[in-house]
C-alpha cells in the first residue's frame, strides 16, 4: 500500500467532508471518522507504518503527519465558522436585561456606626470590653458617684428587676468592672444596650445602644481627652470643627460635652441644630476620683478620662431618619437600604 498516496486521498476526501458538515454533530462525526482513535481512517493508516522499510516509513510518516495537522486545523476552523453562523441565527442578546440577583444582607445602621467608632478607637490602642445588662445599684449608681436621692438621678429613669437589681441605664458600670478585673492602665471602649424608663416615641426608646470609652493611666489629662475625641470626630465626620462645653456627670469631673459643626447647615444654624450651628455628639470628662477609688485604683497615682455616646442618635442624624422607632421596627424595606 502506498501510504503517501493514501494520505493524499484521505486529505482530499477529508477536506470535502469537513466542508460539507453543516452542524456540530456532523462535524464531530467527521472528526471521528477521519481522526478517531479507535476507528478513524488516519489511525488505520498509522497502524500500517510498522510494516514499511525505514525509508518508506520516514516519507509516509511525514505525509501522514501533514495530513493530520491539516485536517485538525480545518476541523477547528470549520467549528468556528459553524459557531459564528449559529450565533448569527440566534436572537440578539439584550444586555440591558437585569442580572441574576441574590438576596443582599446588611448590618443594622446602629451597628454600622458602632463598628466605625470601634475601628477608629481600635487604631489608637483601645480594646473592647463588655458587661451584663442587668446590674446592681452599686455598679450602676453608687460606684459611679451618683449622690443618693439627688436630681442627678432624674436623668436616669430606671427599670428595676428587684430590690437591688436593675437594667443598666448606661454602659458605665463596665468601667468599674474592667478596672476591678484588670486595674490600670486600661484603654477600652464598651458597646452595649442600655435601658431607661422612657415611653417609646419618635425621639425616645426604653432600650438603646451606647458606646462608652475609658482610658486610665498615670499622667492622663484633659488634653488627652480633648485630643483623642477631636481626632475621633475628624475621622468620623471628616473635616469638622469641634467644641467642648462644660457639663455635668456624677462620675466625671471636669465634665464636658463635645459638639461638631452641624452636618446639615455646616454651622450656619438651622432647624436641626436649633440655630446653634452645632450638633451634640458625646459626653465626656475626667474620671472622678471617687470612681477610681471605688474600682480599687489609686486616684492620686492614676487619672483617666471617659466618654459616652449614643450611636442611635448619630444614625438618625447621618441617615436622615425622622423617627427613632424606625430603628426597631425591623422593616426589611428599611434595612435593605443599608446593604453595601
Amino acid at each position: 500500500m502506498d501510504l503517501v498516496k493514501e494520505a493524499e486521498q484521505l486529505e482530499r476526501e477529508g477536506l470535502e467532508r469537513i466542508a460539507a458538515a453543516t452542524s456540530r454533530d456532523e462535524l464531530e462525526a467527521a472528526r471521528t471518522a477521519l481522526l478517531g482513535r479507535k476507528s478513524g481512517r488516519l489511525t488505520a493508516l498509522l497502524a500500517e507504518l510498522p510494516k514499511l522499510s525505514p525509508e518508506e516509513k520516514r516519507a509516509a510518516g511525514a505525509a501522514l503527519n501533514r495530513t493530520k495537522l491539516l485536517l485538525e486545523g480545518r476541523l477547528g476552523e470549520r467549528e468556528a465558522e459553524l459557531a459564528a453562523a449559529a450565533r448569527g441565527q440566534a436572537a440578539p442578546l439584550d444586555v440591558t436585561m437585569p442580572s441574576r440577583p441574590r438576596w443582599r444582607g446588611a448590618k443594622h445602621p446602629v451597628t454600622i456606626i458602632i463598628e466605625e467608632v470601634e475601628q477608629i478607637f481600635r487604631e489608637i490602642g483601645f480594646t473592647v470590653a463588655l458587661g451584663p445588662e442587668a446590674e446592681t445599684e452599686w455598679y450602676n449608681f453608687t460606684a459611679l458617684n451618683f449622690p443618693p436621692d439627688h436630681p442627678a438621678m432624674d436623668m436616669h429613669d430606671t427599670l428595676y428587676l428587684g430590690d437591688d437589681m436593675l437594667l443598666r441605664t448606661h454602659t458605665s458600670p463596665v468601667q468599674i468592672r474592667t478596672l476591678q478585673t484588670y486595674g490600670a492602665p486600661v484603654r477600652i471602649i464598651v458597646p452595649g444596650n442600655v435601658y431607661r424608663r422612657d415611653f417609646f416615641d419618635a425621639s425616645h426608646a426604653p432600650m438603646f445602644a451606647q458606646i462608652e470609652g475609658l482610658a486610665v493611666d498615670e499622667g492622663v489629662s484633659f488634653v488627652d481627652l480633648k485630643a483623642t475625641l477631636t481626632h475621633f470626630a475628624q475621622r468620623l465626620f471628616g473635616e469638622t470643627k469641634t467644641r467642648f462645653r462644660p457639663s455635668y456627670f456624677p462620675f466625671t469631673e471636669p465634665s464636658a460635652e463635645m459638639d461638631v459643626q452641624c452636618t446639615i447647615c455646616r454651622g450656619a444654624g438651622c432647624a436641626t441644630c436649633k440655630g446653634s450651628g452645632w450638633m451634640e455628639i458625646l459626653g465626656a470628662g475626667m474620671v472622678h476620683p471617687e470612681v477610681l477609688s471605688a474600682s480599687g485604683v489609686d486616684p492620686e497615682r492614676y487619672t483617666g478620662w471617659a466618654f459616652g455616646m449614643g450611636p442611635a442618635r448619630m444614625a438618625l442624624a447621618r441617615y436622615g431618619i425622622p423617627d427613632i422607632r424606625t430603628l426597631y421596627d425591623s422593616d426589611v424595606r428599611f434595612l435593605q437600604q443599608f446593604a453595601r
Partner: protein, 804 residues
C-alpha cells in the same frame, strides 16, 4: 432656666448682645439651648421700604405709597401717617400677617384704592420701649421710621430687633446657683469684668425703714404677734417671716408683668408676682400667705399621715408623715417647698400678707414632689439647693417690693428663725495637681484669679496650695476636684491643647465574645440576611419570668428568653406591610431566672427566613420557597463562625416541630418552623436560635491546609433503599466506617420515594469520591470496596442497593 436678656442686664451692665451671651455661657458654664426674641407676635413683620409716596386723590390725610417688601414687585399701600417719606424703611405687615393683638392684615380698598398691607407705628406693634438697634421711635407721631441697612423683606425681629430676647439655659443639677438671673449674671460679670449688681434696681418706690428680719438662733421666734416655730429641723434649716399689712391686691405694673411674661411666666397679681419675680430674679423661692386666713401661729412640722390639704391647684392631697408642712394652729397650710394651700391663698380680698422666705431640705422636698407628682419652680430649686445666707436680705427686699406694689406697709422687721447656721465649706486645691489633670501649664495666680472671679474667697496661701472658702450658693463644691473643674471651665475648655500624646496599651484584652459576634454577623450578612435590633421586651406568658417591676406598659413588662420570639413578631410586622420575603437576624441578650436577683444572661443568635429563596429573575420567575434545609444551613454557618465547627448534630426535638442542635455533646440551640399570625398568602417561616455565650475561645488559629491532589479521583454512586426510620446520618457514618481512608468525599445527592421503592422506604443516593494520594486507582480496587461497603450496609443496617 429661662433668662431674659433685659432682666439679666439689670444685674450686670454688659454691652454683650444676646448672641454673645449665649456663646459665653455655653462655653463657660451652662449650655444655652435656644435663643429667641420674646416678641414672637412680631414674627410676620418685615422691613418695607417706601419708594414713592403720593397724596390720595380722595383724601387730605391719606397717602398712596409704593412699598418694596422684597417680593420682587412694588406694592400699593395706603397709609395715613403724616410722616411717611419716600426712601425710608418702616416695619411692614404684608397681606396675611397677624399684628400683635391678633389683627390679621388683608387686602382691602381704602377710598377706592387697593392697599396691600400696612406700614406700622410703634403703638400698633406694641413697642412701648425703644427697640434696641438703629431705630428711632416716634410714639403717636406716625409710623416707625427705621434707620436700618436691612434689605426690604427681611424679618423685622431678626434685623432691627425689638425688645427682649429669651435665652433657654440648660442648667445641670450640680449648678442650682444658675437658676436665677442674678446667678447667671454672676458668671457673665466674671467673664467680662463688669460689676455684678447685688440688686436689680427695680423701678419701685423705695419703702423706707425696711430692714432685714431679726435673726433668732433658736427654733422659734416672733414678729409682732405672729410666732414662728421650726419643729421639723431636719426638714427646714431656716425660716424667715415678714408681715405686710394694708395691701391692695391688684394687677402688677407693666415693668413687672413684662419681666415675667418674657420668661414665660403668667402674671397673677402684684403679691404673687412679686414672689415669682424674687424667685426668678434672685433664686429664692418665696410664698405669700393671707395672714387673715392663717392665724398668728406659724409651725413648720412633719405632716401627719393621712392629713389632707387642698393645694393651690384645687386638688385635695393626702399627706405622708415624711413631708414637711407649714401649719397654723389647726391645720397644714402649705407643703414646704412644693406648693401652697388653697385655704390661705392670697386673693383680691387679702389685706395682710405673711411672707415666707425659707430654706427646706432638698431630700424632703424631692420626696414630697415625687410622692405628690407636682413639680414647681420652688421645688425644683429646693431640691437642688438654695443659698441659705441670702434669706434675710432677700426677705427684706421682697417685703419692700410687695409694700411698694400694693401700697401696704411692712409691719416690724420680721423674724428669721435660724437655729443652727452652718459654716462655709473650706476647700483647697494644689495648683500642680490641677495643671496635671488639665494637662496644660496654668499659672497658680491665674487659677486663684478664676476662683475669685466667681465668688470663692481666697485664704492664706500655704505651701503653694490655694485655700478657699466656698461661697454659700455653691453647695456643689466640696472637694479639690470640684475646684479643678471650676479652674478648667473658667480657663476655657477651648483653650486646652489638642495634641495627641503618647499612650500605653491597656491591660484589658478584647472581650472574646465581641469578636465572635462580629464574625457571626459578617457571616450572616454574607448569607443575605438583614440585621435587626428590636425591643427585647415581651408580654407575660411568652416564656420568661423576668419581670420589670416598674414597666411603662403591661405588654412589655417582661424580658424575653428567646430572640426568635422577637423576630417572629417582627416578621408579622413585615407581613403587615405586604413584605413576604423576610430574612432577619439578631445577635442579642436573653434572660432567664438565675441565682438570687441576678438573671441569667445569655447571648443568642437567631435568624428567621421566609418567602422566596432567591430574588425573582426573568429566567427564574418562580423561585422555590425557603424551607427547613435553608434554616439548617444558616445554623451551620453560625456554628462555623462562632465555634469553628462544621459537624453539628441535629436531632428531632420531642414535643415540637423543631430540631435540637448540639455541638460537642452540648445542646446549643434549635432549628424550627416558626408559627406566625400570618395572612393566607404568606410562605411558612423557619428559624434558628443558637446560644453563643460560650463560643468565645480566644487563641491562635491553627488550621493547616491540605495539599491539592495530583492523582485522578474515582466516583462511585450508591442508590440505597432505606427504611423511613433510619436516619441518613447513620448510613453516612457506616459508609465512612467501611470505605477506608481513600474516601475523600461523601455526598447525599438524591432522595426518592415512589415507583420501584417499597412502601415505608425511600431511596437515598450517595456519591462517593475515592482518591489515592500517590497513584491512579484500579477498577478492581474500586469494585472490591463497593462490594465490601454493600455487605457492611446490609449486615449492619439491613440496607440494600436499589434495583430498578
Amino acid at each position: 432656666m429661662n433668662v431674659s436678656h433685659e432682666w439679666l442686664r439689670d444685674f450686670v451692665p454688659t454691652g454683650l448682645s444676646p448672641r454673645e451671651i449665649r456663646d459665653l455661657l455655653t462655653s463657660r458654664c451652662a449650655t444655652v439651648e435656644e435663643m429667641r426674641p420674646v416678641r414672637q407676635d412680631l414674627r410676620d413683620i418685615v422691613i418695607g421700604r417706601v419708594v414713592e409716596a403720593a397724596r390720595h386723590p380722595e383724601s387730605d390725610h391719606l397717602w398712596i405709597t409704593k412699598v418694596d417688601a422684597g417680593q420682587g414687585e412694588l406694592l400699593d399701600v395706603v397709609c395715613g401717617a403724616p410722616n411717611v417719606t419716600a426712601g425710608t424703611s418702616y416695619p411692614f405687615a404684608p397681606v396675611g400677617a397677624t399684628l400683635p393683638g391678633g389683627l390679621k392684615i388683608e387686602k382691602r380698598k381704602i377710598r377706592g384704592v387697593v392697599s396691600n398691607g400696612m406700614l406700622c407705628s410703634a403703638r400698633e406693634l406694641l413697642l412701648s420701649q425703644q427697640p434696641t438697634a438703629n431705630s428711632q421711635q416716634l410714639l403717636d407721631e406716625g409710623i416707625l421710621a427705621l434707620e436700618t441697612d436691612a434689605s426690604p423683606g427681611a424679618s423685622f425681629l431678626e434685623t432691627v430687633g425689638a425688645g427682649d430676647t429669651l435665652l433657654v439655659v440648660d442648667v445641670m443639677p450640680n449648678r442650682p446657683d444658675l437658676l436665677s438671673h442674678r446667678g447667671i449674671a454672676r458668671e457673665v460679670a466674671a467673664a467680662t469684668g463688669d460689676p455684678l449688681q447685688e440688686f436689680a434696681g427695680e423701678p419701685w418706690q423705695d419703702v423706707t425703714g425696711v430692714t432685714a428680719p431679726t435673726t433668732a438662733q433658736s427654733a422659734t421666734g416672733k414678729t409682732g404677734d405672729v410666732s414662728v416655730t421650726i419643729e421639723d429641723r431636719e426638714g427646714c434649716e431656716r425660716y424667715a417671716a415678714v408681715i405686710i399689712r394694708g395691701v391692695k391686691v391688684a394687677p402688677s405694673p407693666e415693668w413687672l408683668s413684662r419681666r415675667l411674661v418674657a420668661i414665660g411666666a403668667r402674671p397673677i397679681n402684684n403679691v404673687v408676682d412679686a414672689t415669682n419675680y424674687m424667685l426668678h430674679g434672685y433664686g429664692q423661692p418665696m410664698h405669700a400667705f393671707d395672714l387673715g386666713k392663717f392665724g398668728n401661729r406659724v409651725i413648720v412640722r412633719r405632716a401627719k399621715a393621712g392629713e389632707k390639704l387642698v393645694t393651690l391647684d384645687g386638688v385635695e392631697r393626702t399627706l405622708r408623715d415624711s413631708m414637711t408642712v407649714i401649719a397654723g394652729a389647726e391645720r397644714a397650710e402649705a407643703i414646704a417647698g412644693v406648693i401652697g394651700g388653697k385655704g390661705s391663698e392670697v386673693t383680691d380680698a387679702t389685706t395682710d400678707v405673711l411672707l415666707e422666705v425659707a430654706i427646706f431640705d432638698p431630700r424632703r422636698v424631692r420626696a414630697a414632689r415625687r410622692a405628690l407628682g407636682i413639680s414647681t419652680d420652688a421645688s425644683y430649686r429646693f431640691e437642688r439647693h438654695v443659698d441659705p445666707e441670702s434669706v434675710p436680705v432677700l426677705a427684706a427686699q421682697a417685703a419692700a417690693l410687695i409694700a411698694s406694689l400694693t401700697g401696704g406697709r411692712v409691719d416690724g422687721a420680721g423674724v428669721d428663725v435660724h437655729p443652727a447656721p452652718r459654716k462655709r465649706e473650706r476647700v483647697s486645691v494644689r495648683p500642680a495637681r490641677a495643671a496635671a489633670l488639665i494637662g496644660d501649664p496654668i499659672p497658680a495666680e491665674a487659677m486663684a484669679g478664676h476662683l475669685a472671679s466667681v465668688g470663692f474667697e481666697l485664704l492664706d496661701n500655704t505651701d503653694g496650695v490655694i485655700c478657699t472658702t466656698v461661697p454659700s450658693w455653691r453647695s456643689d463644691v466640696t472637694a479639690e476636684v470640684d475646684l479643678i473643674e471650676e479652674i478648667a471651665r473658667l480657663h476655657g475648655y477651648d483653650r486646652v491643647s489638642t495634641d495627641l500624646r503618647p499612650f500605653r496599651l491597656g491591660e484589658s484584652p478584647d472581650a472574646p465574645l465581641w469578636l465572635v459576634e462580629r464574625k457571626v454577623r459578617e457571616a450572616l450578612v454574607a448569607e443575605g440576611l438583614l440585621e435587626a435590633r428590636p425591643m427585647p421586651f415581651v408580654a407575660e406568658g411568652k416564656g420568661t419570668d423576668i419581670r420589670v417591676r416598674n414597666p411603662l406598659a403591661e405588654n412589655e413588662a417582661y424580658l424575653r428568653n428567646s430572640i426568635l420570639e422577637t423576630l417572629a413578631r417582627r416578621a408579622e410586622h413585615n407581613l403587615g406591610h405586604m413584605q413576604g420575603d423576610v430574612r432577619l437576624f439578631e445577635i442579642g441578650t436573653v434572660f432567664a431566672r438565675g441565682e438570687g436577683e441576678r438573671p441569667d444572661e445569655k447571648r443568642h443568635v437567631a435568624a428567621l427566613i421566609m418567602g422566596d429563596r432567591r430574588p425573582r429573575h426573568f429566567t427564574d420567575s418562580k423561585p422555590p420557597q425557603c424551607d427547613l434545609w435553608d434554616a439548617k444551613w444558616i445554623a451551620e454557618v453560625v456554628a462555623l463562625a462562632a465555634f469553628g465547627i462544621d459537624d453539628l448534630k441535629f436531632s428531632m426535638n420531642e414535643g415540637s416541630a423543631g430540631l435540637t442542635v448540639s455541638a460537642g455533646g452540648r445542646d446549643i440551640g434549635l432549628v424550627t418552623e416558626v408559627p406566625l399570625d400570618a395572612p393566607a398568602w404568606a410562605a411558612p417561616a423557619f428559624g434558628i436560635e443558637l446560644d453563643i455565650t460560650n463560643a468565645a475561645v480566644p487563641g491562635v488559629h491553627r488550621t493547616v491546609t491540605r495539599q491539592l491532589p495530583v492523582t485522578p479521583a474515582v466516583q462511585v454512586d450508591l442508590a440505597l433503599v432505606v427504611p423511613e426510620e433510619l436516619p441518613a446520618a447513620r448510613i453516612a457514618d457506616t459508609i465512612r466506617a467501611h470505605a477506608g481512608e481513600l474516601l475523600e468525599k461523601l455526598e447525599l445527592f438524591d432522595e426518592f420515594r415512589g415507583q420501584g421503592v417499597a412502601a415505608g422506604h425511600r431511596s437515598l443516593a450517595w456519591r462517593l469520591t475515592f482518591r489515592h494520594p500517590d497513584r491512579t486507582l484500579r477498577d478492581k480496587e474500586i469494585d472490591a470496596r463497593r462490594a465490601k461497603l454493600l455487605k457492611a450496609l446490609e449486615g449492619e443496617l439491613g440496607v440494600r442497593q436499589r434495583t430498578s
